[in-house]
């Protein structure tokens, strides 16, 4: 996932897609933290080809953290 940067960066880039306000950009910035965490976790799990996802690296809890 591309790094979205700050709310200002988001607003600047997204203005080309949609007329987003500063408030919208701040909300989106918060939401993107969750998206980024999920995308990062997926990227960690997918290994170098031709290996496959190691089931032992998958978690047993709701937050994905077994500690």
């Amino acid at each position: 996932m591309q790094d979205p940067g700050s709310p200002s960066d988001i607003m600047q880039r997204m203005m080309s897609t949609a007329p987003m306000s500063q408030s919208d950009a701040e909300q989106l910035h918060q939401l993107l933290a969750g998206v980024n965490a999920a995308a990062t976790r997926m990227a960690e799990l997918v290994p170098i080809f031709p290996a496959e996802v190691d089931p032992n690296l998958l978690s047993l809890t709701v937050d994905g953290n077994d500690d």
């Binding site: 909300q27 989106l28 993107l32 969750g34 799990l45 997918v46 996802v53 998958l58 978690s59």
Partner: protein, 483 residues
Amino acid sequence: MSNNTDQPGTPGTESDTPLHYLPLAEQARRIRSGELSAVVLTRAYLGRIHSHNPQLNSFITIDEDRAIEQAQRVDDAISRGEQVGPLAGIPLAVKDSIPTKGLRTTDNSNLLADWVPEHDAAAVEKLRRAGAVVIGKANLNEFGWSRPLEADLAPPPWNPWNPRFASVGSSSGSGAAASGGLASAAIGTDGGGSIRLPGGAHGLIGFKPTHGLVSRRGMDHNSHSEISPLTRTVEDAALMLDALAGFVPDDDMSWPGAPVGYADRLSEADVRGWRIGVPWKFVRSAPNEPEVLAAFEEFLGTLESLGCEVIDVPVRGLAEARMANFLVLNAEAYQRHAKSLGEYWDSYGEITRVYLMQGAYLGADDLLNASEVGRTVRGLLESEIFSADKTGVRALAMPTSPFVTAERSRRPGEHSRGINACFTAPFNITGHPSTSVPAGFSESNGLPIGAMLTTALHNDLELLQLAHAHEQATNWHLRHPEL
């Protein structure tokens, strides 16, 4: 928490149940036998919609005239002695994201306030072919996404069990209509729990079929969102699935399996000895409200009383499957709306449009990584959990949601983390059949609490059979809101 008459609702028996709360199966039997007129049943529901919808907001559009016409055709066919379908004359609510020919389909968005589709979705075609009457279009979170707002095209629906509380979505209006006796049953969609969560919160069966069993042809984006029934009994869900299931050749995700005959085979199974797995570490790591855990433990006790063997079974990857599903949902939603967000930003709800933008920064690698992790968890469930050679679990059991009410799921922090869907969403990307069943009530607010069962891929029949066995051992399904 006990299964006694101090619980909320009307603790009736099937013999004294009013017409509008009769199981769909019984209504259909009476219509086919000529004991009940389809027009009378349809008018009864229309009367209740007129009385209660202003308070509950279950429906966005009511198709009164055509519903009466459809019902009259059923009555005419029966009076001529013609063969009619298994759902003949049964009034259904259809989630307003599912296209209906000639009947506006808004997705509860100002963007589509006047959209009238030229075609029925395949699922609606099948229901009509079985004789069902589409009585109206049910409310939902805008585009099945986001958090409901009073400023939405239709304001948020309220739960008939306690109208001070919001209906859980996204198939919220479908849940409110089926539980409040405003329709015989409803259909909605489940992309992360949007049938099972309202099923649990409304005291209904919310049955998400195996991916591909019910065609999505005619629907929008979201490849893991399944068109699913919400019903007051398991037999009703089986009858609905009989009508909805089946191969649709021009749908590349439709499964080419032969019809099974779910309703006729509900009582065939003897569930004694069935092994039920509970991933306790996963369940206990959620922020469960105490009443949810109490109801869940009672639910497991009922399964044990039926002769099932309940075991603790660690299941890896459910959190990652939820994350993967979340990424795919976001990517698909953004891809489908990107152009219209640019053109019609102000026509979207102020929260919906920001939620839809979550996918804007995702790339192909993110989407494909998520798909790969989803496939891994699907494979693990099949090969390690449901395989008779390994753990041999016939079904996994979990609460439907950690929360009794929708209110916590509406808090921005909880909603964006998707905690309300932590038990349901993993099984969307894995494609497994999964159902919420009534498992009790909150003593503090009278709202229903659901428990969830999930079986191996294409084992929808066993899932229904197990849910049916549980239902026969309880009386939750005989309780109805006092509306």
